[in-house]
C-alpha cells in the first residue's frame, strides 16, 4: 500500500472575546497555514466560540516533560515573598 498522509498536525488556539487570552482548543490536520486557519474555524468555532484564531504547527511547540517537573517548578514553591500576603502591614494601613 502506498504511503498515506493525513497532512501535518497543527495546534489551535482561540480567543473567545476581545481582550481575553488565547486558549488551546485542540488540533487539526492541514497542509498549510491558510488551510489550518479554515479547518480550525470549521471545527472549533461552529457554535460562535471564536473571535480570533491562532494555529501553530505541532512540531514547532517545545514542551517540558514530566521529568522536568521537579527542577522546573518545585523551586518556586518556597518563594513565598513573591506573594503580597507575605508582607506584614501596620494596623490601619489602607489601599496598599
Amino acid at each position: 500500500m502506498e504511503q498515506d498522509n493525513q497532512l501535518p498536525l497543527w495546534e489551535v488556539f482561540i480567543q473567545k472575546n476581545n481582550g481575553l487570552p488565547f486558549k488551546h482548543e485542540g488540533s487539526i490536520h492541514a497542509s498549510d497555514a491558510a488551510m489550518a486557519l479554515q479547518n480550525a474555524r470549521d471545527i472549533y468555532t461552529r457554535r460562535g466560540e471564536g473571535r480570533t484564531i491562532w494555529v501553530v504547527p505541532s512540531s514547532a511547540i517545545a514542551a517540558t516533560t514530566v521529568e522536568d517537573e521537579a527542577e522546573f517548578f518545585d523551586p518556586s514553591d518556597d518563594k513565598i515573598y513573591r506573594h503580597p500576603t507575605f508582607y506584614v502591614m501596620p494596623e490601619g494601613a489602607k489601599q496598599i
Binding site: N5, Q6, G26, I28, A30, S31, D32, R46
Partner: protein
C-alpha cells in the same frame, strides 16, 4: 543487604513505578501524554480512543443515508449539523489518540485492515426516517450515558475531548426524541414507522454497553485504572431506566415482553439480550459491516490525490496572494 539487592531488581523497580502510577490514579490525578504509564494502560487507552473515534466517523454513514431525503428544511439543517458534530467528535478523539504518538494515518489503516473496531451499532441499516429519530434518541442516548461517565476518565486528553463532546452532544438526543414524538403524533404510517424503528433499534442500543460485567474481558483492569469509571451493566441499567419512561410518554411500546418494573430494586428488569446477534455483528456479519468499511476505504482512497496535492503545494510554498 539482601533487601537492597531486591529493591534494585528490575521487577521491583517496575512494581514501584506501577504502584506510583496506581497511586496517582487513586488520587484522581489525570495522566498526561508524556507521563510514564504502563504499556498495557497506553494500549488500552489508545484502543478505546481509536475505537471511539472510528465509531463517530463510521456513524456518519447511517445518518448520512437520510440527509438528502430529510423531510423538511428544518430537519435537514438539524441532521446536517448533527452529522457534522459526529465528524468533529471523531476528529477530537483522533487528536486525543494522537497524543500517544500514533498518527491518524496509522489509526485509519488499523480500521481498514480490521485491527481496530468501531461500535457495532452502525452496522445496522437506517430504513426509514424514524430511524434517524431512533439513532438520536436511543443510540446517542446510550452513547451519552457512557460519555458522561468518561468525562472523568483518567487519561487527560481523552477526558478533555469527552467534556467537549458531551457539551455538543446534548442536543443530539433531544433532536432524536423530537423526531419520534412528532411521528407518534402524526398519521398512522408515521406511527408505524416510529414503532418499527423502536423495535429494530432498542436491543442493539442495549448491546452498545457491551457484554455483561461477568463476561467482560477488559472491565476490571480498566476500572482499576479509571479508564472506565462505571461498569457495562451499571451504565446499561441507567439508560434503560430513563429511556423506558420517555418511550411510554409518547406511546411507544418497548419490544420486550419480559419487561417489568422491579419494586425492590426500583429498576426496570429486561428480558435476555441476544448476545449471539451481538457477537455475529461484532464478528463482521451484520447487514452493513462490509458496506460501511467499503465506503470508508473508498472515500479515503478517492481523497489520496487531494492530500498528495495539498502536501506537494505546501512543499512549493506558493503564496495565495
Amino acid at each position: 543487604m539482601s533487601s537492597t539487592i531486591e529493591q534494585n531488581s528490575p521487577t521491583t523497580v517496575m512494581q514501584e513505578r506501577l504502584d506510583q502510577f496506581q497511586a496517582r490514579i487513586d488520587a484522581d490525578e489525570k495522566i498526561e501524554p508524556k507521563d510514564w504509564m504502563p504499556e498495557e494502560y497506553r494500549k488500552t487507552v489508545l484502543r478505546q480512543m481509536s475505537q471511539h473515534a472510528h465509531s463517530e466517523v463510521i456513524g456518519m454513514q447511517p445518518e448520512g443515508n437520510w440527509i438528502l431525503r430529510a423531510p423538511c428544511l428544518r430537519a435537514k439543517k438539524i441532521l446536517l449539523a448533527k452529522i457534522q458534530d459526529e465528524g468533529g467528535h471523531g476528529l477530537y478523539l483522533y487528536s486525543a489518540a494522537e497524543t500517544l504518538g500514533t498518527g491518524r494515518e496509522a489509526l485509519i489503516e488499523s480500521l481498514h485492515n480490521g485491527k481496530a473496531k468501531y461500535s457495532s451499532i452502525f452496522n445496522y441499516p437506517t430504513l426509514n426516517w424514524a430511524d434517524i429519530g431512533a439513532i438520536g434518541w436511543l443510540v446517542d442516548g446510550a452513547a451519552i450515558v457512557n460519555q458522561v461517565s468518561l468525562q472523568r476518565t483518567s487519561y487527560g486528553p481523552y477526558a478533555r475531548a469527552m467534556v467537549r463532546i458531551c457539551k455538543e452532544e446534548s442536543f443530539h438526543q433531544r433532536q432524536g426524541y423530537e423526531i419520534m414524538t412528532t411521528m407518534m403524533r402524526g398519521n398512522s404510517a408515521q406511527k408505524e414507522m416510529a414503532q418499527d424503528a423502536m423495535n429494530r433499534w432498542w436491543w442493539p442500543a442495549l448491546m452498545m454497553f457491551g457484554p455483561h460485567d461477568k463476561d467482560s474481558a477488559h472491565t476490571q483492569q480498566s476500572m482499576q485504572w479509571r479508564i472506565k469509571r462505571e461498569s457495562n451493566d451499571v451504565l446499561r441499567q441507567r439508560f434503560i431506566d430513563k429511556t423506558i419512561d420517555q418511550a411510554h410518554l409518547i406511546g411507544l411500546t418497548i419490544p420486550d415482553e419480559q419487561l417489568k418494573y422491579n419494586e425492590d430494586t426500583k429498576h426496570w428488569d429486561i428480558g435476555p439480550i441476544n448476545w449471539d446477534e451481538f457477537w455475529q455483528v461484532v464478528g463482521g456479519h451484520g447487514l452493513c459491516n462490509e458496506q460501511r468499511m467499503k465506503h470508508h476505504i473508498r472515500a479515503h482512497q478517492d481523497g489520496q490525490w487531494v492530500r498528495e496535492a495539498a502536501n506537494a503545494f505546501a512543499q512549493k510554498q506558493i503564496s495565495f496572494n
